[in-house]
């Protein structure tokens, strides 16, 4: 399944300036696309638009076309679209329903809302818990988990909807290094299993580890797009408010110092 944005622009309700302009983006099955950019560059807006929440849930004006396998999704209600596209946010706690006493009920919340047969809800919930390797948390109170664990529970809740595509808006932004590692490893497992994910991240190390392609936004426009290695190695990245991964910075520093960058590769390969 392919999710396609063609000439997409978006303006928030009550504002005159466009938050997104002329976005052309394709998210194919089995592909992880990274989204980078400075704060206020439009990453969150693009996530909201791609998921369908903007303008359905928050209003605003959308231009251009969003299609799934060529079918325009403009008229789809959110509960139908949420079965094709799942979206996760920065704050782990605010994604919890607040009404589930256990992680199992939290993950089952979405499929229950869809009024699926009970056995189907149970199967989806177990499957999502197992996919993210958090089956052991099933009987825990989700409000008593660490931030990283809560984020995994939130992602499991999305997976239980069985979407074809997953949109994640800075899923590690509010996590400590351990939580970041937990979520990155889980996303890497999903990616290795062929998941289709659009992930916005300030931490370019996370993008380097996950994404095959990366797009960089500036003031709502796509200014760089291509293979992740090339985009994250682009010398214009710091000017765009994006900190390159440590490996790239080291490579640039070595080059500036007159060292042969291939030496770093040999050290890396040897280490």
């Amino acid at each position: 399944m392919t999710l396609t944005l063609t000439g997409v622009g978006y303006r928030y309700a009550g504002t005159s300036d466009a938050a997104l302009l002329d976005i052309d983006l394709e998210l194919r099955s089995g592909e992880v696309v990274g989204l980078a950019g400075a704060s206020e560059s439009g990453k969150t807006t693009l996530c909201l638009v791609t998921s369908g929440l903007a303008p359905r849930a928050i209003g605003g004006l959308l231009r251009g076309r969003i299609t799934i396998d060529g079918t325009d999704v403009d008229a789809w209600p959110m509960h139908r679209l949420s079965q094709e596209i799942g979206i996760g946010f920065q704050s782990p706690a605010s994604q919890l329903s607040q009404v589930a006493g256990t992680v199992f009920e939290e993950v089952a919340f979405g499929p229950m809302n869809l009024a699926l047969p009970r056995d189907d809800v149970l199967d989806r919930t177990w499957e999502a818990l197992e996919t993210l390797v958090i089956r052991d948390l099933a009987d825990r109170d989700p409000r008593r988990l660490s931030g990283g664990q809560q984020q995994l529970v939130a992602i499991a809740g999305l997976l239980a909807m069985r979407p074809a595509h997953l949109i994640l808006d800075e899923p590690t932004a509010q996590l400590d290094p351990q939580g970041t590692r937990l979520v990155t490893e889980a996303l890497a497992r999903l990616a290795a299993n062929g998941a289709s994910i659009l992930v916005a991240e300030q931490k370019t190390e996370v993008l380097a580890a996950l994404a095959s392609r990366t797009v960089v936004l500036e003031a709502g426009r796509m200014v760089l797009a291509g293979a992740t290695g090339e985009v994250l190695g682009d010398p214009r990245l710091p000017e765009l408010g994006v900190t390159p991964p440590a490996a790239v910075r080291l490579r640039h520093a070595a080059r500036d110092a007159g060292l042969d960058a291939r030496m770093l590769d040999e050290v890396h390969a040897g280490g």
């Binding site: 099955s29 089995g30 929440l53 359905r56 849930a57 928050i58 209600p77 959110m78 509960h79 949420s82 079965q83 799942g86 979206i87 946010f89 920065q90 704050s91 706690a93 605010s94 994604q95 329903s97 607040q98 009404v99 589930a100 006493g101 199992f104 089952a108 979405g110 499929p111 229950m112 809302n113 869809l114 009024a115 699926l116 009970r118 056995d119 189907d120 809800v121 149970l122 199967d123 177990w126 499957e127 999502a128 197992e130 996919t131 099933a138 009987d139 409000r143 939130a154 999305l158 997976l159 239980a160 909807m161 069985r162 074809a164 997953l166 999903l190 299993n193 062929g194 998941a195 289709s196």
Partner: protein, 274 residues
């Protein structure tokens, strides 16, 4: 996963986890939540309708203390319900004891203020009602998860949105208390003094209340979007994974309690109760 283009696939045969709907430890815990809610509600209303001292006291003994002993929660019940009732009980006692209009039987005097027998009698009657109400409500919460009651009501036909609001409202209180604790710690770390006299404590509340309320409001938009993304806006009923057990005898008890309550209210209105 990639074959069907879905992020996860169905696997069969794992069923309902045993920790969901696990029966409570005692027979009273295992009553249907609606039965326990009916007991609490009818006890509280009947205590007010009966008036006097004996009626509410008997209700406390029969409908609160007895079940609390059976459920093994008497100690928690006493502690919680007393704490719950204490502020209003103290003010009711003081106002009636010292300011009962036309009271003649003097018990003792503090300066110009006289404590009267009549005032003490009325204060005890009010205390009995307050204890019946706080005891009944506390017993319900000590023996029932609010979410179980909501699931039961949803099974009986309550709309899922109403059920969500009811459940979320109850669950939000501890979440806000926890947030307030975190913000208090953070403000203390930055030098806020929340110890000492009443005025100093009151001054210390201001920088805590603001972030608690604003933080909660700021979360609302993201939380509502997260709910939308999980199909919450879909019209119609939703699937329930389990529902608390109910028995015919419990339905009869509920109707019986409601009928008794109606009778007490009718007697009160007709003036046949003292």
């Amino acid at each position: 996963m990639a074959r069907s283009g879905r992020l996860s696939e169905a696997t069969a045969g794992r069923g309902l986890p045993d920790f969901l709907g696990r029966p409570g430890p005692t027979a009273y815990h295992r009553l249907n939540p609606l039965t326990k809610a009916t007991i609490a509600t009818t006890t509280a209303i009947a205590a007010v309708a009966l008036g006097g001292l004996i009626g509410p006291a008997v209700l406390v003994a029969v409908a609160v203390v007895g079940p609390a002993i059976a459920a093994g929660v008497l100690r928690d019940l006493v502690r919680t319900s007393v704490l719950l009732a204490l502020p209003i009980a103290i003010s009711a006692l003081l106002v009636n004891l010292f300011f009962f209009p036309g009271g003649e039987g003097e018990l003792f005097r503090i300066g110009p203020i006289v404590a009267t027998e009549e005032g003490l009698g009325l204060a005890l009657e009010i205390l009995a009602r307050i204890m019946a109400i706080s005891g009944a409500v506390t017993l319900f919460y000590l023996t029932t998860r609010p979410s179980d009651l909501v699931i039961d009501l949803e099974r009986r036909g309550m709309g899922s949105r109403v059920a969500f609001v009811a459940n979320a409202s109850v669950q939000t209180v501890p979440a806000m208390v926890e947030r307030a604790g975190q913000i208090t710690d953070a403000q203390r770390a930055r030098g806020l003094d929340t110890e000492g006299g009443v005025l100093r404590r009151l001054r210390g509340i201001v920088p805590i209340v603001g972030p608690v309320i604003l933080g909660s409001i700021a979360e609302v938009e993201e939380r509502s979007m997260a709910l939308e993304a999980r199909g919450f806006a879909r019209p119609g009923r939703r699937t329930l994974l389990w529902a608390p057990a109910d028995r015919r005898v419990e339905a009869l008890i509920r109707w019986g309690l409601l009928a008794a309550l109606v009778a007490v209210i009718a007697l009160r209105i007709s003036g046949r109760l003292p």
